[in-house]
Amino acid sequence: MEKTIAGKTITVNEEGYLTDFNQWDEKIGEALATEANITLSPRHWEVVKYLQNEQKNQVALSIRRIGKSGLVDIKEFYQLFPNAPLKTATKIAGIPKPASCI
């Protein structure tokens, strides 16, 4: 389905995840964060960029993997994105929702 955000039209799935990463830009990331009640700090951006990079390298994302990233530990990850961190952070990053259970 189509959605207008930050003055642009994007295509998202039924859960609100971008279906085409090429449509993503930082303004859209910020607007998606606002929808999730998060104001993005430089620290948030580091994590978002990390997730995008992992996605590009086709790494399966999980909480355990985040904990081993060397960038952020699990505790801080939950502090940055308090409500469902992996789901929220990937949505902001414009990448698919990870299918991981761990």
């Binding site: 699990i74 469902a84 961190p85 991981s100 259970c101 761990i102």
Partner: protein, 160 residues
């Protein structure tokens, strides 16, 4: 059940067993709840206490007897070394699917904000002290305390 369309807000997971498959089930459910933005608390009672006992938590085994899904004849399941063998097989498979071992899993749960409680009665029965337990265990509490912590709408309780 009509509040917030029955949305789950908090999972209260009671772990009463120390066989690896049950411990993992409890851990995965607690972690999965946190990943969805659902609060999670765990109550360790009876043999479930071994999952947070410093000296025992690294030595939990899969049950090979009385577990038809293992597809090992019960007579063989009881042979010496069978549990250890089945456990090492299972751990290999778990590593493949990125499943952490018990000590690392406890760290993940703790960092994810899962509250952990130990059952007072079971602690007394096994003569365990709070300092015998993993540091992430918040407190030793009674069943009554646990019910008190379970109050509120959207709270679900699970016994494993």
């Amino acid at each position: 059940m009509n509040e917030n369309k029955g949305a789950i807000k908090k999972m209260m997971i009671i772990l009463s067993k120390a066989t690896l498959e049950n411990v993992y089930a409890a851990f995965v459910l607690a972690n999965g709840a946190r990943m969805e933005g659902i609060e999670a608390e765990m109550f360790f009672t009876f043999f479930g206490l071994e999952a947070v006992h410093k000296k025992k938590l690294e030595h939990l085994h899969v049950a090979t007897v009385g577990n038809p899904a293992m597809h090992i004849p019960t007579m063989l399941g009881g042979l010496p070394g069978m549990e250890a063998f089945a456990t090492s097989m299972m751990k290999k498979e778990m590593e493949k699917i990125d499943m952490p071992e018990v000590p690392e899993f406890l760290e993940i749960l703790s960092a994810s904000g899962v509250k952990m409680w130990a059952c007072r009665l079971a602690m007394d029965m096994f003569h365990y002290k709070k300092e015998d337990l993993y540091e992430g265990v918040d407190e030793v509490i009674t069943v009554g305390d646990f019910y008190k912590k379970s109050e509120g709408e959207g709270v679900h309780m699970l016994f494993i």
